[in-house]
């Protein structure tokens, strides 16, 4: 009879321990799942913001880029105080999209790591696109927008405000 009691006791304790383990595990799963759902900043997000900020703030004169120098000498760029996005917008609005493409291709080559895909849209039109992986299969696609405005050739012929959008994905 004592043997039976000890056996039942052990059985109860085993079941008890099992239930206890289940409770702890379930609680942990719930807690960790909640934590995992918290928003986090991806590298693409930082990169997208960084790229659009750089393109919107870096002045052509500061880039020391041979293509910019050539375009300036040829008279295609008349104001080296323009930022890269301002100049791209000026090219776009003066029907010189190919020059905007060439300039953005050249400038972003050094600026953005080759493992990232990205595109630059001005006023709803695709100006430059570098696609290494499909955007649809990407785990993180991040866009950043800037308002662009300026004057053409240091005159009072103003353009903008137009919206430039930089989208980066990996």
């Amino acid at each position: 009879m004592a043997k039976l009691n000890n056996g039942r006791k052990a059985q109860y304790l085993t079941i008890d321990a099992f239930i206890a383990a289940m409770i702890v595990a379930t609680t942990l799963v719930i807690v960790l799942a909640e934590r995992a759902s918290q928003p986090y900043t991806t590298q693409s997000e930082l990169l997208s913001k960084g790229v659009s900020e750089s393109l919107a703030q870096a002045k052509l004169i500061d880039l020391n880029n041979p293509l910019i120098v050539n375009l300036s000498l040829e008279g295609n760029i008349t104001n080296l105080d323009n930022t890269v996005l301002q100049q791209a917008t000026e090219f776009y609005l003066t029907q010189r999209k190919s020059q905007a493409f060439r300039m953005l291709q050249n400038v972003t080559q050094r600026l953005i790591d080759q493992k990232y895909s990205f595109r630059i849209i001005i006023n709803g039109d695709l100006i430059y696109n570098r696609t290494l992986t499909s955007e649809n299969t990407s785990v993180a696609v991040v866009s950043s927008r800037k308002i662009i405005f300026g004057v053409i050739n240091k005159t009072a012929l103003a353009y903008g405000p137009v919206i430039a959008e930089v989208t980066v994905w990996q």
């Binding site: 109860y12 807690v31 909640e34 103003a158």
Partner: protein
Amino acid sequence: MNQAQPACIGKRGIFFTSIAVLISMVLVVTFASQHAVTTNDQIQLTQAKAESINSVVRELRHEYLPQAIYVATYNAFYAMAEYMRVRGRYFATDQIFNATLKEMVVNGTLCCSLPGSPVACADTLPGDVNDPSKHVGADVCLSSYVDPARLSVLKENNLTKKLSDFENASFRAYRVNTTFHKDYSNMVLQLYQDNWTGPWRLGVNITLNYSVFLRDMTINNSENISTIFSIEGIPDPLYLVESQKADEDMSGAPDGVLYRNFFNATNITMWNVSTLYLLTEWRTYKQDSNASSFLMRFYGKDERSPCCGVESIINPVAMPSVNGKIERPYIDWCYYGTGNRCTQQTTGYLWNVTCMTTEADGTQFFNLAIDTYHSLQYNLTTDAREYLYGAGPPPECPESPFPAT
């Protein structure tokens, strides 16, 4: 004893479960006590909103508004110069000029007294000039007199349009609502030229009220936006008005031809007969404290401006109707100025310039004359060689080559 045993086992049997429940409660309490994380999230959200709003305000304050004011003011001056060309007269007073300018900058409209205007308005009457109901867009007013490309620039580049464009753009780009309080009567527009701006730049101050808001976060600002810009490229009203009403043949009736000259500062700093030649040839401007300023030329005030007076030389090749019958120095404000302030005498005061003046009509700088004051300003008498002469054929030019480069 047998009946008591299961109860004893039962109490011990939930020992682990009890411990597990306690652990779970601790975990849940720990998790639930992540108020810090939630607050952190809220702080991050608030920070993101504040960052968005701040970046819009920064962009507005430091970049967009100064540029919008520059573009609107520059185009207002351009349109007003064109209006003066067609009208053939200056703005009647500086108050009328200022009121017209303010409305042109803010709304792109003016009191239009030109034939064909859809609304009758007398631009010499302060009542009409200050009554917006009698005003029309500059593009409408000048539609028969200015090329269409310029008209669309006039239509697009006033402050109200620029502010509306930004309101739309800030919402589309950042989902941030920007609202400008476009209360025309409360906007204060100030123009100035002083020692700091110098004669080639114009300062503009305007007070603007605006709100930027994103959900529950709002910034209300009343700001005095300042910008300084170059006047280069704007047509000189002195030429536009006076050239067409000049009495070149001294018959008593105007027979002038309309000429345009655009403000463009010379980069010459050392003056001699060669650089005077280049100034005349290139039709550029130099500073002179006795000349009238850019602003004065819009309302016909022929007075000296110590900080900001500018002058150019009338070029008889580019302006062939200037035939020498009007015996005045060929400095723009001396030749066209209503005050005739340079010299009213000729002998001993008005000079031809060796190397430049010619006697044959249609040749370079035919009958070009200069007064004693300007001969000193351009260093034509400080040299051992004298470049001035009175009547008679010009002496041989002592410079070789001329103009010296």
